[in-house]
Amino acid sequence: PLPAQASLSAADILRYSRQLVLPELGVRGQLLLARSSVLVVGCGGLGCPLAQYLAAAGVGRLGLVDHDVVETSNLHRQVLHGEARRGLPKALSAAAALRLLNSTVQYVPYCGALSPRTALELVRQYDVVADCSDNVPTRYLVNDACVLAGKPLVSGSALRLEGQLVVYNYQGGPCYRCLFPKPPPPETVTNCADGGVLGVVPGIVGCIQALEVLKIASGMGSSFGQFMLMFDAREGRFRNIKLRPKKPDCAVCGDNPSVTCLQDYEAFCGSSATDKCRTLHLL
């Protein structure tokens, strides 16, 4: 965490007054938020609303990772970027937008894909990680880095009219690999470009991710350490699914892990983390 402040400034008290009166947060929780740093992996449909509400709430430092640039087809769901920012790296565009909302937060943009070479050192610098990525190799990479660094991972995903959320590696609960020891066959994976997504669906999931990050960072604790939230936008229905506990034979968080450093996740998954056309053609 960042250095502790002894107290809130008068400006902070004014800005956060509506949440300071909550007994569940209070000055104590706000000071914890101000000390905490959150790494946002992906500044797209999930990362935009997530970063927006974390910045507004007064998290101390936000790391913003994205390798992509803003495109017109992003704007229906990636609400931090604007028409004038097309062509800019998303991490820079997001940081610029967030600075207008709350200039007292530190923003650290990383323009590039999270890679196995750098992910562990990066994750070690943050207290909580939010997986807002859009592909399978990155999800395994972020998971393994969080397990190796001992950080909680608030993971969201959305496609078409559905969303899912789990908090991994939190308070003795399972990690992503405990649930998914083997990656899905690449031909079964659909991305937002192919499958489509109604923009407000990642909006809803990203906001709920922000809520869980705030609950973890402020000491309230998350309810999703061994539960998955499933959301069906068509039906307007949310379900809380009880998940398995941490698995003793998990390759990365188990008792005898075989994964002790980060690997080649694109090879493991048979797909690319950065291409628009995701399946690796291996022949």
């Binding site: 995903s157 078409r160 998914f180 066959p185």
Partner: protein, 101 residues
């Protein structure tokens, strides 16, 4: 002989696209000598509901990686996985995990 078992079988996260886009199926499994378990249910689904490309849903006698099986809103790992004995009125949900963002 086990009595017939009525289930609600649901598909989500895109898995429903292998079942004509229908998310909820009311299913009645016929009487058979041994009790119905998830292993038998998967065989029955493959024969009776799954229209095409079974490899996108199954791998061997189980579901393919990336599909979670939930029995009455709990992970099937908590319930015995393939060996779970189905009860009348159970809800079984097969959900494909999402990766988009």
């Amino acid at each position: 002989m086990a009595a017939p078992v009525s289930l609600q079988v649901e598909f989500g996260g895109g898995a429903e696209l292998l079942f004509d886009g229908v998310k909820k199926h009311q299913v009645t499994l016929p009487c058979q000598p041994e009790p119905w378990d998830i292993r038998n249910l998967l065989k029955w689904i493959k024969q009776n509901l799954l229209k095409e490309r079974p490899e996108l849903f199954m791998q061997g006698e189980s579901v393919r990686p990336g599909i979670l099986v939930l029995i009455n809103d709990a992970d099937w790992e908590l319930m015995g996985e393939l060996d779970y004995k189905l009860q009348d009125q159970d809800n079984v949900l097969f959900i494909s995990t999402l990766h988009g963002g």
